[in-house]
Symmetry: C2
Subunit: 289 residues, 2 copies
């Protein structure tokens, strides 16, 4: 069987424990992708998963309505410019009921944020019970751009890897399933996507001249990602390396990982915290006009 | 022509200026609904609007990426339990790119919120430039349940109508298009929907025994809504009465109103704030492997 069941995809995409180099992962790969009679590109494999995703998310949302300590899911999206963080939110998170979703996009820290520990602004944006939280960038920027551009002292950067592991272990311990995805694109694919943004006036707003400055530091970023993925790949909150040159594969894979995360909670529907028969009689007694 | 163009639907659904009684509006009506060869129910009229909604929302989102003072849209959803506030968010807002959407559900005020003016918690949840904000309930609860259940002094309730008008006029003046929808269902429809929630264990979490207490105050709520819609129906931020017994009509109508609101901004795509040719040459010079 070349087709993998949903339960196995996380194993295929999980970043190996130990020292890794993100350059060793193939951005073109499509591990676990189901065969579909040569119609891979046309088939909307992702939308087939929508009913299952929908059912699982609603169970989580339902749990949240009854219990502030209900479980949470946190999806962390990391990757270079054009890697597909926004597209993932649009296409994957866009399938979910927006009532149960909380998205935060981490920008350059404000002066208020810089006056606090680097995790301060992250804690404020965590999902609440019953929510699926999405981080478009995250605390990992504090060991990525901050490392590459020397925006913090070397010993402070060193300290952060351990602080992140402690923070995420605590998050998981308090009922959050953490799914960390590195969207892995190739230099060629990034160049192609930046070119597209400059070829279509509708896409100008997605382009920033600093994107090229960052692209020119490609190897420094690959080094920083390799260190982050090696040092912060704890069992409770593992990293997944998502081959992201193919957008449809990327969407399908992340949808699968979310389904696995939600399914791992094994949530039923909340029991009634009222007397159903009694309430039925009360509703039956309501006037209907 | 019995079919109304999108531009006219807001006129059809706008609550008349002056003293109104919400009981005079037909919850079963489907004003402006396009004829579709007898296939009204089957046709997914709403999803046909998705490409237009998508395009308009992306223009707003794009504006927000370039200008913190970009316009905003605020959709206020009000209605009794089961009127379809959650369903509207799921089906209408669910069509939008979640990156540009900010949803807030107003619950019973906390003690911290009660210690402030009633608009304090509302101001904190307003959409930012480029966002579509959705209020699931709103500051109108402060003249609805608070009036019905005498949770505030009569003179304070009186004061609030004017405060709301001032607040909303200020919002509109600072670049927010405000779309206020009263989801109008009949007593019979509400009874039916409450019964459904008690008939399916998957829906128990949506039921609260207090819903029946509220339902038994139907006339008091209709009075309170009539006063709110009469006194807070300012030209800058009009009320729409959405017949909501038919869920598909409700979704279609609100999608249309959102499209009209977004289209009224007449947004193009943001011009490049960089030298496009120069940036193309920089991208062209990037390594591709």
């Amino acid at each position: 069987m070349s087709t993998k069941s949903p339960e196995q995809l996380s194993d295929l995409l999980r970043c190996p424990i130990g020292q890794i180099d993100v350059r060793d992962f193939d951005p073109h790969a499509t591990p676990g992708r189901p065969n579909s009679n040569g119609k891979d590109e046309e088939n909307d494999m992702t939308s087939e998963l929508e009913p299952l995703l929908d059912d699982l998310q609603e169970r989580l949302f339902a749990a949240g309505t009854r219990d502030v300590n209900a479980p949470k899911v946190l999806l962390i999206l990391q990757g270079l410019d054009t890697a597909g963080k926004g597209g993932t939110i649009r296409h994957v998170i866009g399938m979910m009921d927006p009532q149960g979703v909380r998205i935060h996009s981490f920008k350059r820290p404000t002066s208020q944020e810089l006056a606090h520990d680097f995790l301060w602004r992250v804690e404020r944006e965590l999902p609440r019970g019953g929510q699926v939280g999405i981080f478009d960038r995250s605390h990992y920027e504090d060991v990525l751009i901050q490392r590459v551009d020397h925006l913090a002292r070397a010993d402070e950067i060193e300290r952060r890897y351990g602080a992140i592991n402690d923070f995420e272990a605590e998050l998981v311990g308090s009922g959050t399933v953490v799914v960390k995805c590195f969207l892995n694109i190739s230099r060629g694919e990034q160049k192609k996507r930046l070119t597209e943004r400059l070829s279509n006036p509708k896409k100008f707003f997605k382009y920033d001249p600093s994107d090229v400055d960052v692209a020119n530091k490609w190897d420094a970023y690959m080094d920083a990602y390799s260190i982050a993925l090696s040092r912060c790949n704890i069992e409770a909150a593992p990293w997944y390396v998502i081959p992201a040159n193919h957008k449809r594969y990327r969407n399908w894979a992340i949808t699968h990982l979310l389904i696995e995360a939600l399914a791992s909670l094994k949530l039923g529907w909340p029991a009634a915290d009222f007397d159903v028969d009694f309430e039925r009689s009360r509703v039956e007694a309501l006037r209907s006009r």
